[in-house]
Amino acid sequence: MAIDRAQVRHVARLSRLALSPEEEERFAAQLGHVLEYIERLKAIDVSGVEPLSFAGEASSPMREDLSRPCLPREKVLAQAPEQDGQAFLVPRIIE
């Protein structure tokens, strides 16, 4: 299945990736190959087979509802590109 550059741009935008025109071209071809492989998988008859959502149907281990100490705030904010000592700073979100 072919994938065009507009679709690549859409997916890149959803993933916040900035691609050059050459990259768009290259990924369109590569993603096309991935999809071709998926098409081949789709040819297999899986009627009557439950979709697998998790490898090994282990039951979910659960934690008791106890609160534990958190990270010190200096440490939390230390690696942020921008912060004001209390919060992460991001460009103004316009709605």
Binding site: S15, A58, Q86, F88, R92
Partner: protein, 468 residues
């Protein structure tokens, strides 16, 4: 066609924070109001390599909600990643449930509307919070990972008023279940509304618009009413309603398009590889206790003799239900105390339902004094008011305020005799048939007794002495 020729179709999605101590996938505290970014860890910050660990209490609360509303509880449900970019979502995805939610079906009882069907209830994690400023936005991730249930209602609501009634009933039910604090202002109970319109009498649903950012019951009505009118106008003028997300602007009372989120509606859900399926055995589900819902408590109260209006007032606040229960005794009398003396004290800020100063069982002591004739009904009210204010033992209040009635026959008789001795002519007139003078005699005696004589006993005494 005027607005009246269109039928609104409304379905609500409610996000309710669960009252757990810790977050859904990590041990960070969920308490509200902590300084920004002090309740975070590698899991809820989305740091690479951190793995989620499911909170059993959050699952149990979802089961509780499911059982209360008659949903099917899935023995096996799965987690999904909902992918989108937003500054308050550090992982770039929200762990939610998509294809197989924990609860499906069921209905919420709504007074006056019967029941409103539910599509599903699923578990998910909350995102952080953005604080907007002129120069930029601050991100606080304390809320990131707080457990939520999303309660998706069927599009069975037909007006803004019905939507608001449904929300009120749902909120109160969750409070009764003890799984949500119902606080709209703090954002622990949030609502999105899907609104569409269609010509009356037709079946086909119109294009729906999702309304976000509605954080009060008043805004729910305003936002939906505005949106209904906007859609009708759009159709009337020959246009088309576009499927979109709109934000309610509560200052201007209008909804406006959220362009930034349009493209993000492609959430690319896929099964969460970090969490195995959630298994809820029928035994576990059966063990989860479900407290009574508001409509059940209302039925109980009215059946026990409490007037409808009083029962409704009490049921509207679970704290009043608790006081009513603890007052005990005659349910009707206890209800009158709760909606009377107690409600008055609360209104006048003499009592705080969150921190009562008195033990509700003491109310019965006041009734006992009243029934024995020690307190007049006026005095009893005064003692109750003071009991609510101070929590002092009723007997001490009676003593300190000197409220006890004189019912002792000997003491009353002396006063009656004295009154009659100095009111000879009135006594003659009474005997001659002027029976309404009885009030005069009792009044004279009361004056002597500084208002503390037992009026019933005085009446009887005067009648007897005057030969009636």
């Amino acid at each position: 066609m005027p607005v009246a020729d269109f039928e609104p179709v409304i379905g609500l999605e409610v996000h309710a924070q669960l009252l757990t101590r810790s977050k859904i996938f990590c041990g960070c505290s969920t308490s509200f109001g902590a300084p920004p970014n002090t309740q975070v860890c590698p899991v809820c910050l989305g740091l690479p390599g951190a793995l989620p660990s499911l909170n059993r209490a959050a699952v149990e609360m979802a089961i509780k909600a499911g059982k209360a509303f008659g949903c099917r509880i899935a023995e096996r449900s799965i987690w999904a990643r909902k992918n989108y970019f937003y500054p308050d979502l550090p992982k770039g995805y929200q762990i939610s449930q998509y294809e197989l939610p924990i609860c499906s079906g069921g209905a919420v009882p709504v007074p006056g509307l019967g029941t409103i069907g539910l599509t599903r209830i699923h578990l998910e994690e909350d995102a952080g919070k953005n604080i907007h400023a002129e120069s930029g936005s601050q991100v606080d991730l304390n809320r990131s990972g707080v457990p939520l249930i999303e309660i998706v209602g069927e599009p069975q609501l037909r007006s803004a008023e019905e939507a608001s009634e449904y929300l009120k009933a749902l909120r109160l039910s969750l409070i009764y279940l003890g799984i949500n604090d119902g606080n709209l202002e703090e954002g622990s109970f949030r609502c999105d509304a899907n609104v569409s319109v269609r010509p009356r009498g037709t079946q086909k649903l119109g294009t729906r618009v999702e309304l976000k950012n509605i954080n009060s019951f008043r805004f729910v009505r305003q936002a939906i009413e505005y949106e209904i009118e906007r859609q009708v106008k759009e159709i009337e003028s020959g246009g088309k309603v576009l499927q979109q997300t709109r934000l309610f602007d509560n200052e201007k009372g209008v909804t406006r398009s959220m362009r930034s989120k349009e493209e993000a509606n492609d959430y690319r859900y896929f099964p969460e590889p970090d969490l195995p399926p959630l298994l809820v055995s029928p035994e576990w589900a059966a063990k989860v206790q479900v407290p009574k819902l508001p409509h059940e408590v209302l039925d109980e109260l009215t059946r026990s003799g409490v007037a409808q209006a009083d029962a409704r007032t009490i049921v509207a606040d679970p704290r009043l239900v608790e006081v009513h229960r603890r007052v005990g005794g005659d349910p009707r009398r206890a209800a009158l105390f709760v909606v009377g003396e107690l409600a008055r004290a609360v209104n006048e800020k003499e009592a705080d339902l969150a921190a009562l100063k008195f033990e509700p069982a003491q109310v019965a002591e006041v009734w006992k004094l009243q029934d024995a004739g020690t307190l007049s009904s006026t005095a009893a009210k005064e003692v109750l008011a003071e009991l609510i204010r101070s929590g002092k033992p009723p007997a001490r209040i009676v003593q300190e305020k000197g409220l006890a009635q004189v019912s002792d026959a000997g003491a009353l008789e002396a006063v009656v005799d004295a009154v009659l001795a100095r009111s000879v002519s009135e006594a003659e007139k009474y005997k001659a048939g002027k029976k309404n003078l009885l009030g005069f005699f009792v009044g004279q005696a009361m004056k002597e007794l500084k208002g503390k004589g037992n009026p019933g006993a005085l009446n009887e005494l005067f009648k007897r002495k005057l030969g009636d």
